[in-house]
């Protein structure tokens, strides 16, 4: 374990890199999934194509997607954009489902109630449906965040340096603690981000935990 002690600086620096690279795909994924999910939720015709296509994206192996992107998009092969785009694609694949499920989960009576109150369509979406879909979307976002962070390590295979460096470098040098440090660091970062999202969810959606203490727990 002396390797870890000797290389704390490196680990921290790679961790920072790792976070910097994983955050944009998570955000982009959410921003793209919202309109796509909304469309799929709203339109019967578009629903299947959207859900199936995004589901299909998820089956693309990252090992292949990463090197192909620069060829398809014309980025520099060294560009971090390759990783960001690839991870965004995976995040979208996960999140579109959640957005659709989330919007579907909004109680129809509540939706009707909003219509009856005189919410216009746009306002209803933003002020009623989106917040109420929040818990399900958040659940998806947490999965997307964890898997993005874990998947980002594959970036080292296309020359993007992050915590994945510790895997390949440690493997070449046969330094077990180096790889272990990488695995643990990735897991810790993922779990911390997960926790932050969870806390953020609680702050932003206080009503989800506001139920009657006993009445709700009455047995069936």
């Amino acid at each position: 374990m002396t390797w870890v002690a000797d290389n704390v600086g490196l680990i921290l620096q790679l961790t920072a890199e790792h976070l910097r690279q994983s955050a944009p795909p998570i955000l982009w994924g959410l921003l793209l999934a919202l309109p796509l999910g909304w469309l799929a939720h709203r339109s019967r015709v578009l629903r299947t194509p959207i859900v199936v296509t995004t589901g299909l994206l998820y089956t693309l192996p990252s090992l292949a997607l990463l090197p192909i992107l620069p060829v398809v998009f014309g980025f520099s092969a060294l560009s971090e954009a390759n990783l960001v785009v690839a991870l965004t694609i995976y995040a979208v694949a996960i999140l579109v489902r959640s957005v659709v499920d989330g919007l579907d989960s909004v109680d129809d009576d509540t939706r009707r109630s909003a219509v009856a109150l005189g919410y216009g369509p746009a306002r209803r979406f933003l002020a009623v449906e989106l917040p109420l879909a929040g818990p399900v979307i958040l659940a998806g976002l947490r999965v997307a965040a964890v898997s993005t962070i874990s998947l980002a390590t594959v970036g080292i295979l296309i020359g993007v340096t992050n915590l994945g460096y510790l895997f390949t470098n440690g493997f070449q040098r046969r330094i077990v603690p180096e790889i272990l440090a990488g695995v643990v660091a990735v897991a810790v970062v993922a779990l911390i981000v997960d926790l932050v999202l969870q806390i953020l969810g609680r702050l932003l959606m206080p009503w989800t935990r506001a139920t009657l203490p006993l009445q709700a727990g009455a047995p069936a």
Partner: protein, 274 residues
């Protein structure tokens, strides 16, 4: 004046006619109750008034003006609507639920909230509930908040769709009394939907009994309907079929009790004034 249905019909795609040629005049400042069994078209009728459903034929008029000439969103804001489960927005605090429509109409939030707190009292709730979320209220409390919200924009018309269907009988009785009191004070035009004939007779100045397709089987005051049921359907519906409304008197322990057709005690005669 009031609400008028003129030969209104509604067919849903792929279904039979939910409402078939329905005409009715709902006078201002009265409570009219639509009563009928499940699926007979009550909700559809109610929603024609605030344009959540547009009739496929015929028209609905408010104060002699076809609702279709009015902007749907504006129209809805001007009409109070109370749903079965209160229909509160679960992510807004009670006070913001009540203030929804005034805020949508551009009232300053602060002022709307103040008014919302007043309304809490009007519907008989403690002001301390204002900061709770709907999930933290009992069914009956939610229902009252639903009424308060419907009143917030000071509408002339209240649409109530089985507003007390989901609460237990005791709370329900309380809510019914409360509504009668409120209506005496406020004098709104109320269109009320229920499938409970007892509730209809209790609350309605005018009761409309509907069969499938919103066919009007009989209408009139409760006493009129009870005294002269139009046909067997009404008789069954108001409970006379089972003998529930065919009462006889019987002496028990020196009191006169009223007994229905199946031998069940309905109550005690207060004083036997013929």
């Amino acid at each position: 004046m009031g609400i008028e249905f003129r030969s209104a019909s509604k067919s849903y795609p792929g279904g039979a006619k939910a409402v078939d040629d329905f005409s009715l005049h709902v006078p201002s400042r009265t409570t009219t109750v639509l009563v009928g069994s499940s699926g007979c078209g009550k909700t559809t009728l109610l929603r024609m008034v605030n344009r959540m459903v547009d009739p496929t034929e015929g028209a609905v008029l408010i104060d002699d003006e076809d609702v279709r000439t009015r902007d749907a969103v504006q129209l809805r804001r001007s009409i109070g609507y109370v749903m079965q489960n209160g229909g509160l927005l679960p992510h807004l605090r009670v006070v913001d639920n009540i203030a929804t429509v005034p805020v949508l109409q551009g009232a300053p939030r602060r002022q709307a909230r103040e008014r919302a707190r007043e309304l809490l009292e009007v519907v008989g709730l403690d002001a301390s509930l204002a900061e709770r979320y709907p999930g933290q209220l009992s069914g009956g409390q939610q229902q009252r908040v639903g009424v308060a919200r419907a009143l917030a924009a000071e509408p002339n018309i209240l649409l109530m769709d089985e507003p007390f269907g989901a609460v237990d009988p005791i709370v329900r009785a309380e809510l019914q009394r409360e509504l009668i009191r409120l209506q005496q004070e406020l004098g709104k035009t109320i269109l009320f939907v229920t499938h409970d004939i007892d509730e209809a007779f209790l609350l309605g100045d005018h009761v409309v009994i509907l069969d499938h397709g919103a066919r009007v089987v009989q209408q009139g005051s409760p006493a009129e309907i009870l005294a002269e049921p139009a046909d067997d359907f009404v008789r069954a519906f108001v409970g006379m079929g089972g003998g529930r409304r065919e009462l006889t008197l019987r002496e028990t322990d020196g009191r006169t009790v009223v007994v229905d057709g199946s031998g069940r005690v309905q109550g005690v005669l207060k004083d036997a004034t013929g």
